[in-house]
């Protein structure tokens, strides 16, 4: 007799206990990153210069700040998902793999927080 609820089986949560969550998150973030990165690339190419006044005036716009925050958050999430699979594929030994995955997760959380903080600081700061 199986103790697994039928719903568990339908949801596909096997021994990894998470089913298709990783796969689905990777697809969602990649779809979101197509317009976000395209917008960012075009924005950088059309900025008249990279001096502080120009860049901070650009980041001061609400739409720019919003899209930059989304780019940082979705980008770090997607990066974390991708690098995680590479570590799972190539890092041998449970200990080394766990430590590498933990470090990767911390690093990405740090990057996401630092990026969002930086954008907010400029966007909410005084006049550019």
């Amino acid at each position: 007799m199986s103790l697994r609820a039928p719903l568990r089986r339908v949801l596909g949560a096997g021994s990894a206990h998470e089913g298709v969550h990783h796969w689905w998150a990777q697809r969602l973030t990649s779809v979101a990153l197509v317009p976000l990165t395209a917008w960012f690339a075009v924005s950088l190419l059309t900025l008249p210069s990279f001096d502080h006044a120009t860049v901070s005036a650009w980041m001061h716009g609400s739409a720019t700040a919003l899209l930059l925050i989304l780019l940082v958050l979705v980008g770090t999430w997607h990066s974390q998902l991708g690098l995680r699979v590479i570590v799972e594929d190539y890092v041998r030994g449970a200990g080394a793999r766990t430590v590498t995955l933990a470090l990767l997760t911390f690093l990405h959380a740090l990057l996401a927080a630092a990026g969002v903080l930086a954008v907010l600081k400029v966007a909410l700061g005084g006049a550019a």
Binding site: V31, V34, D51, V55, M59, G75, T76, L111, A114, V122
Partner: protein, 131 residues
Amino acid sequence: MPQRPISPHLSVYRMTRYTLATSIFNRFTGVGLSCGLLLLVYWLMAVAGGPMAQARAQRLLGHPLMRIVYAALIVSFCYHLVAGIRHLVWDTGHGLERAQSQKSAWLVVAVSIALMLAVGWCVFAGAGRAP
């Protein structure tokens, strides 16, 4: 732990054919873009740090050798974007036949190289303005 071969295998397939090369290059460029993410956050923090901090960062970011990094990022971005779209098409269940995936592999290479040239031209042609 049993000594099983690690997936995906890099040495047991013919790289010259088609799909393995496009797949593993997608991984390499993904890692490259993760490094680009570091650079993006560094730049955002520099801007948030004020004019002095940004001027300091700009000396590093504007260094001639950084052009190699930007070129690598352009190659990575264009390839990963186009190859990623191919993966999304696959996820709908289309284009998975061998002949189709062979054809789309070449399409990915052709489109991404065209995109690389276009973006690279925009970035490096206006050289005085480039970061």
